[in-house]
Symmetry: C2
Subunit: 212 residues, 2 copies
């Protein structure tokens, strides 16, 4: 009889393996990473890893799920004591700049690599659409909050601003990976986008709408 | 003595191989593509391919060079009979939408995959920076042309608009690959960006600056 594995033990072991997988993906990228790499990185036995994950693909999908869960609360956290949505947007831009500066120490390059090929198999179409739909929904609710509070009087639908912002964010990360954030001048891009948002959202605070 | 290969013959053979490589990269992506795939796709002998290219990496770099050369004239071509830079921007947005709609039949997914991993080796840092610098320079000269003609009175430096635009463009393509252009709603993102540009550049034609 195999020893009974408690749920708690199982979860902590899984998390340990996922952390090892994360380190391997960061170091080697997604396609270049092998199960052997993860086994070695984890310090566990081959069987101990395969008991929970049968492939690097399964590990990547588990990591994606964790990331998505933690991202959902980012916007709420960005709202400061004054409750200003525009203030939160400015803070999120700062946070994005920090993400860009450390992007090659993060899972982002491996994620982009994973998803840029995922469409070929069509296996993840539903997952990708759902992630995107959910991400857009949360950002839209966040901006709509600013409208409801009277902070913004947008000249285009808030949903359209969201679509532009999501493309911009993805591209900023791609360029930060490829060039480094300094050569990509991500801070300049972010500040220009802030200026564009001030106009599109018509931020109502007199100090924040810069007249030409 | 091996037969003398004329320069013309050599170039047409190279082009034939690169076209085969392009088809393989489009179908399989960059890392999954092998020399064997390209040999088979080209219908040439193994030796006939290796005479010109020693690896799929060499082929990808040759394709990148060709793409960059052809992109450089895009902006000039977009300027219509009236010579309006803003009109050209609108046409370039339409062209971008078309690119997005056919992106998975293009080399773009393989290019993103190639460059998203290239930073790991550091081998292509100079190439990537030079490509980016050159791309930004051409777009900046194009927008500056609009300033010089009195079409635009930008409220931020034209170079800053360029940085924002390049990130947006890259992200739009990433999303078009991952989701398809319909689910990514690329047209909505492009129209929102046009609205942002109208403001940032302060387009001087009375019909084009939309007041809130």
């Amino acid at each position: 009889m195999s020893p009974k594995v408690s749920e708690e033990h199982k979860e902590s072991r899984q998390q340990e393996i996922l952390e090892a997988a994360r380190r391997v993906f960061i170091r080697k990228g997604y396609q270049a990473a092998t199960m052997k790499d993860v086994v070695e990185e984890s310090g566990l036995s081959r069987g101990g890893v395969y008991m929970y994950y049968g492939s690097t693909e399964e590990m990547m999908l588990a990591l994606v799920e964790q990331i998505d869960r933690s991202n959902e609360t980012d916007y709420d956290r960005a709202i400061g004591a004054d409750g200003s949505v525009w203030g939160a947007i400015e803070r999120l831009m700062d946070q994005t700049q920090q993400e860009a500066e450390t992007v090659t120490d993060s899972l982002v390059p491996a994620l982009i690599e994973f998803f840029i090929n995922a469409w070929r198999s069509r296996k993840y179409d539903a997952l990708m659409e759902e992630r995107y739909r959910r991400g857009a929904q949360i950002l839209e609710a966040f901006l709509q909050n600013g409208v409801d509070r009277g902070e913004f009087r947008p000249i285009v639908p808030v949903g359209a601003v969201v679509l532009m912002l999501l493309s911009f964010y993805d591209g900023l990360m791609v360029q930060a990976v490829q060039l480094g954030p300094e050569a990509a001048q991500t801070r300049v891009g972010l500040d220009t986008m802030l200026e564009a948002l001030r106009h599109l959202l018509q931020v109502q605070d007199g100090n924040k709408e810069v007249s030409p």
